[in-house]
Symmetry: C2
Subunit: 243 residues, 2 copies
DNA sequence: CTACCAATCTGGTATGACCAGATTGGTATA
DNA sequence: TATACCAATCTGGTCATACCAGATTGGTAG
């Protein structure tokens, strides 16, 4: 799914810029240092800085005004959803509130997705889900990590809703938590429990049982988040909820 | 809100690249021409191409493998949600299915947002909404367009849900349709009707009346989409649903 | 105190060069 | 003929410079 790959200078510049914004507590509308200053502040070429700024622009975080300067367009917490994935990939931490909101949003969105899936899923969707569960199962049997397979399965359920926008919305919420997912699924017990849930998901979707499916989402997601939260509290210092 | 601003070479390169992918019907995993080839194909510098590719990478549309090539990571319809905004800004058309999904997703997300807003809104939220409606009203009175104010109001309602992720999810769905919104609100009749709805929204949120609020969202959004659809069918050729 | 202008700064873009790993096509070998 | 191997080539990653023209600004003349 997503390979590790060492950070390029461009990515590094994205990270440094975000850190700069955070560190200096820049507010919406504030001006950033010029490209030339950022480039020697970060020790990279202006090209790399410009690449980074193009990304931040795309995420609606910054705005470059020709012949004038670079301005903060949104607070970090209000930029594009896809920035969550980028932040996670750069090992930038999320604040507690974001974590809470992501958790809640995922339950809401996925509940709706699965309701629609129950109502509209095709036989092809069902077959695909069964294939994925079979594969999942064999990996659990083989004591392999199933972090990727879990994402694949949940997105496939979302896809069965026949609404691509919902899938595109859920995707970043999954990808941003990829590193926890990796840890979470390192436990064989959790893998087995998760497999059982997935099998039940398929059953409810097959039966078009919206009510049961919705309830299952709540349980499944909440238990996962609780577990991750517990792991996080046990392992690392507060305020750093990434990786 | 979002100024027109003529496209930079970087933006142009993003557009050209997306068009290239569309035109050649590239599939997930397919390889794109090298940066050097793209740059002289588009008539811009490699720097500009690289800036564009950085953006497409951020949207998870492409993947650059060092010393190897550029590969399509997702179909255009599966890339990051924020790409919708970029596509709209570049006047790239959306297909019918995307339009339908966006419409549905917006109703779903906004319905949930307003339900949460009813349950959790603070007095400050309520005051802000009232301010926005007052401003909206005076603009309607003055026969001014309220495209920006409409987005502002809907996002403020979403913000009253106390969940920033929901706001960040709805934002691109609003921004991608900014140009239609502009046309839509060019009609004084529609502006008045919309104002009445907004006033009712505030009332329901003030009363914490989830049921009425949810029903109102359905009506409000659906009528808007129907209107836009009718306008689109009347004015332009099929398959081009942007601008 | 105000109006105005020139030096300076800023983003946008273009050239060109070098690195090192990935790719590939042809050659020599079994 | 099939295979193993190696060197030329291609590719993304990065750096260094240079120019343009509009925005900004500080100081000067009125």
């Amino acid at each position: 799914m997503s390979v590790p790959q060492q950070a390029s200078e461009g990515s590094r510049a994205v990270k440094r810029t975000i850190e700069f914004i955070r560190h200096h507590r820049l507010q919406k509308g504030d001006r950033l240092p010029s490209e030339r200053e950022l480039s020697d502040r970060f020790g990279v070429t202006r090209s790399s800085v410009r690449e980074a700024l193009a990304v931040l622009d795309a995420l609606r975080l910054t705005e470059r005004r020709p012949k004038s300067g670079i301005f903060l367009r949104n607070a970090l917490e209000d930029s594009g959803l896809d920035s969550l994935v980028i932040q996670a990939n750069l090992d930038l931490p999320f604040d507690e509130r974001t974590m809470r909101d992501v958790s809640e949003a995922r339950v809401i969105f996925e509940t709706h997705a699965i309701r629609l899936a129950c109502a509209r899923r095709t036989d092809a969707d069902l077959n695909r889900l069964r294939e994925l569960v079979a594969n999942y199962s064999s990996r659990v049997q083989a004591e392999l990590n199933v972090a990727n397979e879990d994402v694949e399965f949940h997105l496939a359920m979302a896809a069965a809703s026949q609404n691509a926008i919902i899938v595109r919305t859920l995707t970043p919420l999954f990808l941003m938590s990829f590193q926890w997912r990796q840890k979470y699924f390192s436990s064989p017990v959790i893998r087995r429990r998760s497999l059982a849930d997935h099998q039940e998901f398929v059953a409810t979707i097959a039966d078009r049982d919206e009510t049961r499916a919705a309830a299952l989402v709540q349980k499944h997601v909440h238990s996962a988040f609780d577990e991750v939260r517990a792991m996080a509290e046990g392992n690392e210092q507060p305020e750093s909820h990434n990786q």
